[in-house]
């Protein structure tokens, strides 16, 4: 679950290599990402998940939260994966669960990336100043503190449970690794001559940050976003599994929570246990695959040659 974290804080960033024979074919980023087979597979899988989530009402036979069926029915035509001990249709829960995971992934990822971007950019642009020292310290602390335990405590204390809370908590706890990477890259870019040249051309700071520096940051921001989204999905699953999820919606994590709470393992209800975890793993895998492709953008050494 924390597979990405160990890396993102220690990424070695590409410096401008002054190569003698500069290749004239600097491929556009999307083509480069698509060129990686892993990324391609990941993108296709992700599209599959998105389609399922969007068309959930059409795909799932019943509402995800309905629990008025007969419990413990085996798989059949009416209940493709059977029912739970409380009478819920496993297949419908699975389909609707996709929505929660994708939403949390999207918004949690955006939240964490946005915070990382702001802190990283301010810290990097003002390198060496007191602001940078303070922000760097905060980043280092946030990096060291274990994420899941902190999230657990924050959610436990909160009055309201629900998906927005989880997105919020994920956002404020998972930004640190990405912030550090962005800070490092801003520092590299800020010292490049073309930024000084932009100042000479009369450009103001705002324009410099957005039109000169940002385009070179996109690959890093994209990689960070995918990583953050992946982490968010895993975090939501973990929190829900501990019972800290939204009791009114059904997500794959809450499915597993119920399965465990109802002793599904002891009773041999392997389908109920297997399936939510499997789709969770598949979703995270396809995102990680996509990240392979995005990694190629920021790290030329990894391109197979």
């Amino acid at each position: 679950m924390s597979a990405g974290v160990a890396q993102s804080g220690t990424v070695d960033l590409p410096l401008g290599n002054v190569e003698e024979q500069f290749s004239a074919s600097d491929t556009r980023w999307y083509r480069l990402v698509w060129s990686s087979t892993k990324a391609r597979v990941g993108i296709i899988m992700l599209l599959g998940f998105i389609l399922v989530a969007v068309f959930a009402p059409l795909i799932a036979p019943y509402e995800g939260t309905r629990t008025d069926f007969a419990p413990l029915l085996p798989p059949s035509g009416e209940h493709l994966l059977g029912t739970t001990t409380q009478g819920g249709d496993i297949f419908s829960q699975l389909v609707y669960g996709a929505r929660v995971s994708l939403l949390v992934g999207l918004f949690g990822g955006i939240a964490a990336t946005a915070i990382a971007l702001v802190i990283g950019m301010i810290s990097g642009y003002k390198e060496g100043s007191l602001t940078d020292d303070i922000l760097s310290f905060v980043t280092n602390v946030a990096l060291v503190v274990p994420v899941l335990p902190l999230m657990i405590v924050l959610v436990a204390y909160s009055e309201v449970r629900g998906v927005p809370l989880i997105v919020f908590v994920i956002g404020i706890t998972s930004w640190a690794g990405h912030a550090r990477a962005k800070r490092a890259q801003i520092i590299t870019l800020r010292n490049r001559d073309f930024v000084t040249a932009a100042k000479f051309a009369g450009e103001g700071s705002g324009r410099i940050i957005f039109r000169e520096i940002m385009p070179s940051m996109t690959s890093l921001v994209a990689a960070g976003f995918v990583g953050a989204a992946t982490g968010a999905i895993g975090a939501e699953a973990g929190l829900s599994f501990l019972g800290l999820g939204d009791p009114n919606t059904v997500s794959w994590g809450t499915m597993l929570y119920q399965a465990d709470a109802q002793g599904a393992v002891a009773q041999g209800l392997w389908l109920w246990v297997l399936v939510p975890g499997l789709v969770l793993a598949l979703l995270i895998t396809c995102l990680t695959f996509i990240n392979f492709g995005v990694d190629l953008l920021s790290n030329p050494h990894l391109r197979e040659d």
Binding site: V141, V145, P146, L154, T230, T285, F289
Partner: protein, 329 residues
């Protein structure tokens, strides 16, 4: 030396931040925190026993005095080792309750983390050395997929498969029949019980190391000193280990503590599933019972544990990388 002093300084500063965080979180809600907690508990449990209120009061103190005064009182209590009383295990103090659980988690997580590091780094280095071959492809692809599997799901499957269906391993607890103590019987029994939880954690833990080490090493293999090492006619093994891996290891060391945080997080879930008497299961209980004193102190202990590991890793890094000692870190 400057480097080591800085690292210790950071440790102390972060420690202070964690303690303060612990102070702030329950007080983020308006009003007297103890009252609020009690209200919450009352809402859930109609017959609220005075024990709960006492536990709350003991932990949170009376809301007299300014925030600063409360903070000082809090710090004093911490210095005394007074972390409050556990609601679940009333009237035992939190420290005693946690104290029982710590060795179990320490062993489980400690062993898993070290094993994961060794396995992950070795696999990653070897995959980088043989990059773009089938071995590398399998390792990279395999570890990507396996690394995304939620550890608690693996735990459930293992419990089901090896615990119930095959019956090879115990399905709950830290030990069964042996009497606790430092005797061979107990240790063997405890070890036996810890195998499934450890395997659950171990399956997903090395992954970060594998990919991180592989990528770092691939980059390192393009470095100039590797080229010179080859030009010197040194055997492959020497180049791989003393030149490439030795350098590529450095970023992994820095990430050790951060990864530890991840494994601790995973252990919370895994211990709950296996009913393993460690800090993780305790946390699960605390959540279920809304035992805030226990919950908070657990968080503090976990953070401190990771900080100490971080300090050790940083010190180790200072020893391994001569440039760190010289330059500003």
């Amino acid at each position: 030396m400057r480097y080591f002093a800085r690292r210790i300084g950071f440790f102390l500063a972060t420690l202070w931040a964690a303690i303060t965080l612990n102070f702030v979180i329950p007080r983020m809600q308006p009003g007297d925190p103890a009252e609020v907690m009690v209200q919450k508990l009352a809402g859930k449990d109609a017959q609220l026993n005075p024990a709960a209120v006492e536990a709350m009061r003991a932990m949170l103190g009376a809301p007299e005095g300014s925030l600063l005064e409360q903070y000082v009182a809090y710090l004093k209590a911490l210095a005394r080792g007074d972390f409050g009383l556990s609601y679940t295990y009333y009237p035992y103090p939190v420290t005693e309750v946690i104290g029982q659980a710590v060795p179990w988690t320490l062993v489980l997580v400690g062993v898993t983390q070290v094993l994961a590091f060794v396995i992950g780094v070795t696999l990653g280095a070897y995959a980088a050395w043989r990059r773009n071959t089938r071995f590398d492809g399998i390792v990279t692809l395999g570890s990507t997929f396996v690394g995304t599997l939620p550890s608690f799901w693996i735990a459930l499957l293992l419990l089901f498969g090896f615990g119930y269906v095959l019956g090879w391993f115990p399905t709950a607890g830290g030990y069964s029949t042996a009497t606790p103590g430092w005797n061979a019987g107990f240790i063997a029994d405890a070890a036996y019980h810890s195998i499934l939880p450890a395997v659950s954690l171990l399956i997903t833990a090395p992954i970060g190391w594998v990919l991180g080490m592989r990528n770092t090493m691939v980059m390192n293999l393009g470095e100039d000193y590797i080229r010179l090492a080859r030009a010197k006619g040194l055997p492959d093994g020497v180049v791989a280990l003393r030149y490439a891996a030795r350098n590529a290891l450095l970023p992994s060391v820095t990430g050790f503590a951060i990864a530890l945080g991840g494994v601790l997080g995973g252990s919370i879930l895994v211990e709950t599933i296996f009913d393993y008497p460690g800090m993780g299961r305790l946390m699960g209980e605390a959540i279920g019972n809304r035992d805030f004193p226990l919950l908070q102190t657990l968080l503090l202990f976990i953070i401190v544990g990771v900080l100490v590991a971080n300090l050790i890793a940083d010190m180790l890094y200072g020893v391994l990388d001569p440039r760190a000692r010289k330059a500003e870190s």
